[in-house]
């Protein structure tokens, strides 16, 4: 017998390890709307199987908890059962010897915080409060409810123009979303149960890149109603598009020189080429939208005037003001905000950063945008400073990776303390305090804390602050639109409480968010403005969706979109992403599981044909 052995996994263990990976992916692709108690019970049973069996609370308690929860689910529980579950879970948390038992019971207690009413309803009415509202994961997670399986199937058949038409039924900016959407649709893609989510955005890009010129559907007969839209960003443009299709007159008032909002003044051209943006905007305008650019509502024309002159208003002014760090020295020369910098780029003013050392403060997508734009403007070096870890950044991982590949330095766990200026009052350096990652906050996100290390000096010729944006509410305080924490308050219908004819949506209501959420808000507003005006126009399309192929694509790798070589792409503002090849688009679209047809989708909610 040997004294020591090299550890090798048994065949069973190897397979179980693979099953763990499979289950991780499976859990990640849980459709929204499942019974939360049923899911908790299932997790609890998994936890119980992990128990080593040494200690009483974990070995016995978890099983008893599961039995009690089963009673609640089976309709045999009482209100006393709920109390017993809670009491037992607390005892397990208090007395389990290790995390296996403690965190398992904690999971049950979290459920009591999150969905106690579900427990009560199960006991009192023997039924669940949850229900599958939209069983197609991608569609249900798309804020605009775009018919994803539909257009993926059309891409598979080579019907790209039809794909664009189908997307436009719910989202009039398919090109913008093809390039820059954060694709929440992919998060719960059922294909993840098999291998990995379908590259939905990549397929949409293939469709828009190959569709050619796709005319819009004709507008309904004119209703004679007039709607003013304040703000020509994605939300305002989307609202304008649908209102025009419904036959209403639309006028957009835009403060800046050009339309596009954050798509132009926030997102750099290397992510969304300007000619694509311009083409998308002119397609929307071709429905017959009246546009006034360079007009600030509240300055050039009063809100009250618009309120009087138009039948309805849609306020979609976005979130274009910058937030300050509040650290000493912020008002030095050569300290600018991300908003300022990106706005100039949006108006094609390309400041020369040649030879400059640029320091960017922030960890979101905007911080990445300015980091990568700085490199393209010729900066000698770009350093992005963030007080938490890279893993905690709100920027998309691909953006961070891209920035690093383009030569940017990302300094994590560095909290800005002050800006040092030279005699001329110009920024010379950013002083930062190293941080240590600390305890998690209530949401589970770890907080940075001051580390026991001295401050550091990061030399800088230019400092860009990219820590967030706010809504320019000046000019709207007197309008009667309620404001809370710096954003407008609107109902889920986009309507403003107590102002029947005023609607608001997009970033100015949600705070800085994504293009697709802004587009969805515009769509919702258009529908409800139509109702408010006394109509019930339906938006639909005549595109027929291909029948699904019956053969299930076996596990096959996801086609990820490739990017141009970093050293080359960082020298210009040209598109960094390479679209899929035809071969790739065919392979990737063939991976779609067609949840509109297979599963619950064919029964209910698989397709919303009109709205």
């Amino acid at each position: 017998m040997s004294r020591l052995d090299i550890k090798t996994a048994s065949k069973a263990q190897t397979v179980v390890d693979r099953l763990y990976k499979d289950m991780e992916r499976r859990i990640a692709s849980s459709p929204p709307g499942l019974c939360p108690i049923d899911m908790s019970l299932t997790f609890l049973q998994l936890c119980h199987a992990q128990s080593c069996g040494k200690c009483v609370p974990c070995r016995i308690g978890l099983g008893q908890l599961a039995a009690l929860m089963g009673q609640v689910l089976d309709g045999t529980g009482t209100m006393l059962t709920i109390d017993t579950i809670e009491k037992t879970a607390r005892a397990i948390v208090a007395s389990a010897d290790c995390a296996i038992g403690r965190d398992a019971a904690q999971l049950v207690l979290s459920g009591f915080e999150g969905f106690r009413d579900d427990y009560v309803n199960h006991v009192q009415h023997h039924r669940c409060l949850a229900s599958l509202q939209n069983p197609v994961p991608c569609v249900s997670l798309c804020p605009a409810g775009v018919d994803v399986p539909g257009y993926v199937a059309l891409v598979r058949e080579g019907r790209y123009a039809d794909a664009v038409r189908l997307i436009r039924k719910d989202n009039p900016m398919p090109t913008a979303c093809a390039y820059i959407c954060e694709h929440p649709c992919e998060a719960r893609c059922r294909r993840n149960m098999v291998d990995a989510p379908v590259n939905i955005r990549g397929l949409k890009r293939y469709a828009v890149d190959h569709a050619g010129d796709v005319p819009n559907p004709p507008c309904e007969q004119s209703t004679g109603k007039r709607v003013a839209i304040i703000g020509g960003g994605p939300s305002g443009l989307s609202c304008a598009y649908y209102l025009r299709l419904m036959g209403h007159g639309v006028t957009i008032f835009e403060e800046k020189k050009k339309l596009g909002g954050m798509l132009r003044y926030g997102i750099p051209a290397y992510r969304f080429p300007r000619e694509k943006l311009d083409a998308e905007i002119s397609s929307i305008l071709s429905t017959g939208v009246e546009v006034h650019t360079g007009v600030t509502v509240g300055k050039d024309i009063s809100f009250e005037q618009l309120h009087k002159d138009y039948d309805c208003l849609y306020v979609a002014i976005g979130a274009h003001t910058d937030k300050k760090t509040g650290i000493p020295g912020e008002s030095s020369k050569n300290v600018m905000s991300a908003v300022e910098m990106l706005r100039a780029i949006g108006d094609d003013v390309m400041t020369d950063f040649t030879g400059k050392r640029v320091v960017v403060i922030g960890g979101g997508n905007v911080a990445m945008d300015v980091t990568r734009s700085s490199a393209r403007l010729g900066a000698a070096s770009v350093t992005c400073v963030y007080r938490r870890r890279i893993a905690d950044m709100t920027a998309l991982p691909d953006e961070v990776k891209g920035a690093i590949a383009e030569g940017a330095e990302v300094r994590e766990l560095c909290a800005p303390v002050r800006i040092e200026a030279n005699e001329a009052g110009e920024a010379a350096a950013l002083w930062v305090q190293p941080q240590i990652i600390g305890f998690a906050d209530k949401t589970g996100r770890p907080r940075p804390e001051t580390a026991d290390q001295p401050e550091e000096r990061i030399p800088a010729d230019l400092i860009v602050v990219a820590i967030g944006q706010g809504v320019e509410i000046a000019g709207f305080e007197q309008t009667g639109i309620p404001i809370r924490r710096g954003t407008f308050m609107a109902e889920s219908s986009s309507q403003i409480d107590n102002m029947e004819t005023v609607f608001a949506g997009g970033d100015c209501v949600t705070g800085p968010a994504t293009a697709i959420r802004a587009i969805a808000a515009g769509k919702v507003a258009a529908a409800n403005i139509d109702e408010q005006l006394g109509f019930h126009h339906e938006i639909r399309t005549d595109v027929e969706i291909p029948a699904p192929h019956l053969d299930v694509c076996p596990p096959r790798g996801r086609v990820n979109t490739k990017e141009r070589e970093a050293a080359q792409r960082k020298c210009d503002f040209e598109d960094i992403e390479c679209g899929m090849t035809h071969e790739e688009a065919c392979a990737e679209s063939g991976r779609c599981l067609r949840c509109d047809h297979f599963g619950y989708g064919i029964f209910k909610g698989g397709r919303t044909e009109r709205w």
Binding site: C35, D38, R127, L550, D551, V552, F603, K604
Partner: protein
């Protein structure tokens, strides 16, 4: 066209055809359970699985289209064994108590289980504790339900009422009432279409035959039975008799055999309804400004529940006339009781109806006008009648014809068509024409309102009154569309007939069930045929109705008529508790 091979037969079908339909065109049948053509093609039960060459997994035939060059096997060993496992799984959650189930012998699951030799149970039996709510006229038995989703689809797509839905997720997913905790607290119309489209016995009418037997056995009670027009077109189907054999006269004999003291006909009160409703229409039509338009018929209780629950703004448009069933009860317990010298408190009125909603109608607090007791005491459906006949060993094939009793047993051709879509309108127009002009129109002058189309429109000129714009809808899904159009002002009508069940009462929720077959049209044609051959085809010519007016009511819309034959639709409420 798509060419494929099914079980070694080459089949050529149009693109978009389902595998199931393609096989059936080639006379190859594939077993189904949840499938219901055009309504439920969702592949839930996985019984219709077939093998497609070149593919590992089986394919559901009902909801997948054929593709060019497919080679399909509908009956391979793999297919058979898979179907068998799925049947065994279904049975593991099924209360296999066929002897107590009214659908025994008429059950898709039972037939499949027999055919697939399911002796032996490899799976643990898992039934759920689920009490049955007997307060509604429609009962749901959780442990008989196979979750085929047909009821959900019928209620959504055909009826547009959205009462049934899936409740819960995961292993405990079941069918339940959406937005309400029970059927009796929901806005259900009790039309019963979910019952007639259930492949098993999960949904049933509440069986009220016990009450009838008790009444028949009580020597103190005088029992009076009325039988609705549509019942005569369907009652003998389960006995395998054609309508020519099972005539209304045979039906009268069968009812007499059961022991009812008086065998009457709802046709009588259908004629009476026409007198009241027709007069009401003319009164409104000649004082247009005083009323909301259009006027709606009110004889269908499913429709009345629908309008009260879903479009309350239109309830004032309903005719105030009671339905024939309720008019009958009120007349029986007043005029007739007086005539035969019986205390109405000792009289029991039993209805045989093609309808489940009639049970709820008879229970309404407003339907007690004759003596304070319910005007109609018990309502049984056509299916319950069949059960009573079988239980009493009455063989309709062996019965001679006899006539209905007098005076509430007579009816004209205009009354018998009440059981088919368009019939009430047709009958009303025939008499309205007479009431205005004093002359009978051609009884077949109003054929435009007949037929199975879900939404019919026609305008008729009544000399002296003007043009009457009519619409006739059947099926609550069509009704919803019609009401939306009326509400939006896009259509204007004067008189609208609504029947909740597609095709009218002939296709009612209380009629015999033939899985996958819609019988309303065929039964309706029987009723139109009876009208055609009737000696009298105008309600106002019914001599017994004339006598009722002369001896008792005086005239249509008289004070007594109002008391007995009309009702206040706002005097009762639909369930408000939608929690």
């Amino acid at each position: 066209m798509v060419t494929l091979v099914i079980d070694n037969k080459t089949v050529c079908v149009p693109e978009g055809t389902s595998i199931l339909d393609a096989a059936r065109t080639a006379s190859i049948d594939i077993p189904t359970l949840c499938y219901l053509k055009d309504l439920n093609e969702i592949g839930a039960c996985r019984i219709c699985m077939v093998e497609v060459e070149g593919q590992d997994t089986l394919v559901a035939a009902c909801d997948n289209e054929v593709h060019e060059g497919m080679v399909i096997h509908t009956n391979s060993q793999k297919v058979r064994m898979t179907r068998r496992v799925n049947l065994q799984l279904l049975l593991s959650q099924h209360e296999v108590n066929c002897v107590k189930c009214t659908r025994s012998g008429n059950c898709k699951l039972q037939k499949l289980s027999n055919d697939y030799n399911l002796l032996g149970a490899p799976y643990q039996k898992k039934l759920r504790p689920a009490p049955v709510d007997y307060s509604a006229p429609i009962l749901r038995f959780e442990n008989r339900c196979v979750k085929c989703m047909r009821c959900v689809q019928v209620c959504d797509k055909m009826q547009g009422v959205h009462i049934w839905d899936l409740v819960g997720t995961g292993s405990r997913t079941t069918v339940g009432t959406a937005r309400a905790n029970s059927l009796s607290s929901s806005l259900c119309t009790y039309c019963g279409q979910c019952v007639t489209h259930c492949p098993v016995g999960a949904l049933e009418e509440r069986d009220d035959t016990d009450h009838v037997y008790r009444m028949l056995a009580d020597p103190e009670l005088t029992t009076v039975v009325q039988v609705a027009p549509a019942v005569r077109a369907a009652w003998a189907e389960y006995f395998g008799l054609a309508p020519e054999q099972a005539t209304p006269g045979v039906l009268a004999s069968a009812l007499r055999e059961l022991g009812f003291d008086y065998v009457f006909d709802t046709n009588f009160s259908a004629d009476l309804t026409i007198m009241e409703e027709g007069s009401e229409f003319l009164a409104r039509f000649t004082h247009k400004d005083a009323y909301a338009w259009p006027m709606f018929t009110s004889c269908c209780p499913g429709w009345v529940r629908f309008v009260k629950g879903q479009f309350p703004q239109f309830s004032k448009n309903l005719s105030t006339a009671k339905s024939p069933q309720q008019m009958f009860g009120a007349v029986a317990k007043s005029y007739f009781a007086e005539k035969i010298g019986v205390d109405p408190k000792n009289m029991r009125v039993i209805s045989v109806m093609p309808c489940t909603s009639k049970k709820a109608e008879a229970e309404l607090p407003t339907m007690r006008d004759a003596c304070g007791d319910p005007d109609v005491d018990v309502v049984i459906t056509t299916r319950e009648l069949v059960r009573m006949l079988r239980c009493s060993m009455i063989d309709p094939a062996a019965l001679e014809e006899s006539s209905f009793d007098s005076p509430l047993g007579s009816g004209t051709g205009a009354a018998v068509i009440f059981g088919a879509t368009g019939g009430v309108m047709d009958a009303a127009l025939r008499s309205a024409y007479y009431l205005v002009t004093g002359k009978n129109p051609d009884p077949d002058a109003f054929t435009a309102v007949r037929g199975m189309q879900g939404w019919k429109e026609a305008s008729f000129e009544i000399p002296g009154a003007g043009t009457v714009r009519t619409a006739v809808v059947s099926g609550l899904g069509n009704t919803r569309k019609l009401l939306e159009v009326i509400a939006s002002g896009l259509a204007q009508y004067d008189f609208v007939e609504v029947m909740a069940c597609p095709g009218g009462c002939a296709g009612g929720g209380g009629q015999p069930i033939h899985d996958g077959v819609e019988c309303a049209e065929q039964r309706g044609n029987v009723l139109w045929g009876l009208d055609k051959t009737s000696a009298l085809r105008f309600s106002h010519e019914n001599p017994d109705v004339q006598a009722l007016y002369t001896e008792f009511l005086e005239k249509p819309l008289s004070k007594r008529s109002h008391h007995l034959l009309h009702t206040d639709i706002d005097a009762w409420q639909m369930p408000q508790n939608l929690g």
